[in-house]
């Protein structure tokens, strides 16, 4: 037990928590925007993969790190355009299209990787984002270490703030939320349901891809095929856990990251040595399922989630 407390009060633990939470926050915000507009985006897992790949490849080809972020975002938006074209004006099954987009994005990344690097056995490394020294903050005793984070992490938290502000404090945000609750009313206001929903999915997909790019450009310095490893599905659970609200979703991501950081450290303790390591690795997925069950009764699902809207009907 004291081992756990030692972990919990260490600055390096909280630095890891914030680091692990960052890609989850970015992708969860992306999914949240889509779902608030009424579209479930199961393309998230594949879009994170393509973001991780595209951002890394752009930097490997000589672009600056922020250029890599922009390329990742553009790639994500492209798949968002594909997803939203099929699910919004055509109203196709969001389940089937989402899984199709995930398969297409994932295989596109693998295909492009093999095409561009046919001979390599281990992927080349890039120089990733380095922790920024925030003046005044970096010198604080404990906090300075815990908040020693890269610019992309700071950006992730800023994005969450911007998403919350736009959703709740601007007319655009009101329209996006309304289109996920009652599209017919939005149409009656003279706004385009199709435009709002497609826009939300495209922007949301861009954020998911940046979440993926965080893995290659900030957390690790290479691209691996399996590196996203279910994070996209976990983000979908985080949206539910956060009751479709940005602030709660960020808290959920941090809580989740804390468990993840804790399990990695527990593996090194005598308790961890006694248990199979796969149990620790499965913990994030088990927690996600538990979170879904816990929140199921209180969930405030957008009323029009997964319901396509066709002008002139009903």
């Amino acid at each position: 037990m004291s081992a756990v407390i030692d972990i919990l009060i260490s600055a390096s633990f909280w630095a890891a928590v914030i680091r692990i939470a960052s890609p989850l926050i970015l992708a969860t915000m992306g999914e949240l925007i889509c779902e608030r507009a009424g579209v479930l985006n199961l393309g998230i897992e594949g879009i994170m993969v393509i973001g991780a790949f595209a951002g890394w490849m752009a930097v490997y080809q000589g672009m600056p790190l922020w250029g890599g972020v922009a390329v990742a975002m553009a790639a994500g938006m492209l798949f968002g355009l594909l997803h939203s074209t099929l699910t919004v004006p055509f109203g196709l099954s969001q389940h089937v299209v989402g899984l199709g987009v995930t398969l297409l994005a994932t295989s596109s990344a693998s295909f492009a990787y093999r095409l561009m690097l046919p001979e390599v056995t281990s992927p080349p490394k890039i120089v990733p984002f380095q922790p920024v020294k925030v003046p005044g903050l970096a010198d604080l005793p404990w906090l300075g270490d815990a908040l020693s984070q890269t610019a992309l992490t700071w950006a992730a938290f800023a994005v969450a703030g911007v998403v919350a502000f736009i959703l709740y404090r601007t007319p655009l945000g009101l329209a996006v939320r309304a289109v996920g609750e009652n599209p017919a009313a939005v149409e009656a206001q003279g706004l385009s349901v199709t435009g709002l929903r497609m826009g939300a999915v495209i922007v949301g997909s861009g954020l998911m891809a940046v979440g993926g790019a965080f893995l290659t450009l900030s957390a690790f310095s290479s691209f691996f095929f399996e590196m996203v490893n279910g994070r996209g599905w976990i983000c979908i659970a985080l949206v539910v856990f956060g009751a479709w609200k940005p602030g709660k979703a960020v808290l959920g991501a941090i809580l989740f990251a804390a468990f993840d950081a804790l399990q990695i450290r527990l593996q090194q303790t005598p308790l961890g040595a006694a248990l199979p390591y796969q149990l620790f690795l499965a913990l994030p997925f088990i927690l996600s399922i538990l979170a879904l069950i816990l929140m199921s009764r209180r969930a405030e699902v957008p009323a029009a989630l997964m319901l396509p809207y066709n002008k002139g009907e009903r």
């Binding site: 693998s110 199709t194 796969q278 997925f285």
Partner: protein, 347 residues
């Protein structure tokens, strides 16, 4: 734009549009070949030759199709009831685990094969039962829970292979102890590398087709899938139908893993399935969720994968082209099917 239902779609529309979807997928294949610097027509030819060009190639394709028929059926049965079972991958491994548990000496001939098949089906069914009860009782979306279970199951398999099931003669490779000879599915014809799993998959497809078209359960599954509210209003036990569907679907997916272990590999390893559970979704959608159609689309999809492997070695186009083509075919096909029923009008 707006979608308007078509009262009586013409035969040309109903058959032409899905055909167009396949042609469009071929066009994408050729474009990808060009991107990879290869001759597009040669690449298509090499895929076809790799899949069907020799007796060995055909048998390899049919072997690869076997698990895909099972997972395709699992998905087709579930999706028909709008039960989104994305967990066929985990259910497949549940079946594979049971094949090893019961096939390594606990049971002998003649019981081992039927008992392990039945136990595998029960394990797969049990694995899907949880997410379905969460859906019917608490309204938890089964897509996410079944997806998350796939990851948990793969870790569980990894634990089994490094722990209780580890082959002591495995030279450190993470694989299970091999099955005893009586627990192996024999070949259909002596000398031909095609096991009875393929024949069982076809029988399963026919049985599913009979269930769907000739039984009350089949009727209920369709009614629940088309309109659960109306089905409930008509007095149908919607939740009970969903549970029965889940048991059937999970059981079928488990047979994929069982037949891979008992028919092909003879042991369990963590690379038993290169995503057969997920590919089953494509197989089922391309077959328009028709159980007999699943046989054909599974062979088609298996052929693309087997052919692409061979083409990749010869032409240097990455083998991942197969996954890209399958995803493309899926998206084109759902769009084509929609457009057989509605037309796009301005306004």
């Amino acid at each position: 734009m707006r979608l308007e239902p078509i009262a009586n779609p013409s035969a040309l529309r109903r058959l032409g549009l899905p055909a167009l979807a396949l042609v469009a997928t071929m066009a994408v294949a050729m474009a990808l070949a060009l991107v990879a610097g290869a001759n597009p027509l040669a690449v298509l030819g090499q895929i076809a030759k790799g899949a069907l060009g020799s007796k060995l190639a055909v048998l390899e394709t049919l072997n690869r199709a076997t698990p895909l028929i099972f997972t395709g059926l699992a998905v087709a049965v579930a999706f028909r009831a709008k039960l989104w079972n994305i967990g066929a991958e985990a259910q497949l491994y549940a079946g594979a685990i049971l094949a090893v548990v019961l096939g390594t000496g606990v049971l002998g001939s003649p019981w081992v094969l039927p008992v392990s098949a039945l136990a595998a089906m029960l394990a797969g069914a049990a694995l899907l039962l949880g997410p379905v009860l969460l859906k019917t009782r608490l309204g938890v979306d089964e897509v996410v829970t079944t997806l998350l279970l796939n990851f948990i199951m793969l870790l569980f398999v990894s634990y089994l292979l490094e722990g209780p099931m580890k082959d002591p003669m495995g030279m450190g490779w993470p694989k299970s102890t091999p099955l005893i000879a009586e627990a192996r599915l024999p070949r259909i014809v002596d000398g031909l590398r095609l096991h009875w799993g393929f024949a069982l998959a076809i029988i399963a497809a026919v049985l599913v087709w009979v269930i769907q078209t000739r039984t009350a359960l089949g009727f209920e599954i369709r009614a629940v899938g088309q309109n659960p509210e109306a089905a409930r209003f008509a007095g149908m036990p919607v939740n009970a139908v969903l549970v029965k569907t889940a048991l059937l679907s999970g059981g079928l997916a488990a047979l994929a893993g069982w037949s891979e272990v008992a028919g092909l590999k003879g042991h369990l390893s963590s690379d038993l399935s290169p995503g057969f559970g997920y590919t089953g979704i494509i197989v089922a959608m391309l077959a328009l969720l028709h159980p007999l159609g699943v046989i054909l689309t599974a062979i088609f999809v298996a052929g693309i994968f087997v052919g692409s492997d061979a083409m990749s070695r010869a032409a240097g186009v990455p083998t991942y082209i197969a996954d890209m083509l399958m995803a493309t075919a899926l998206l084109f096909m759902v769009l084509a099917i929609l457009l057989t029923q509605v037309r796009v009008v301005r306004g």
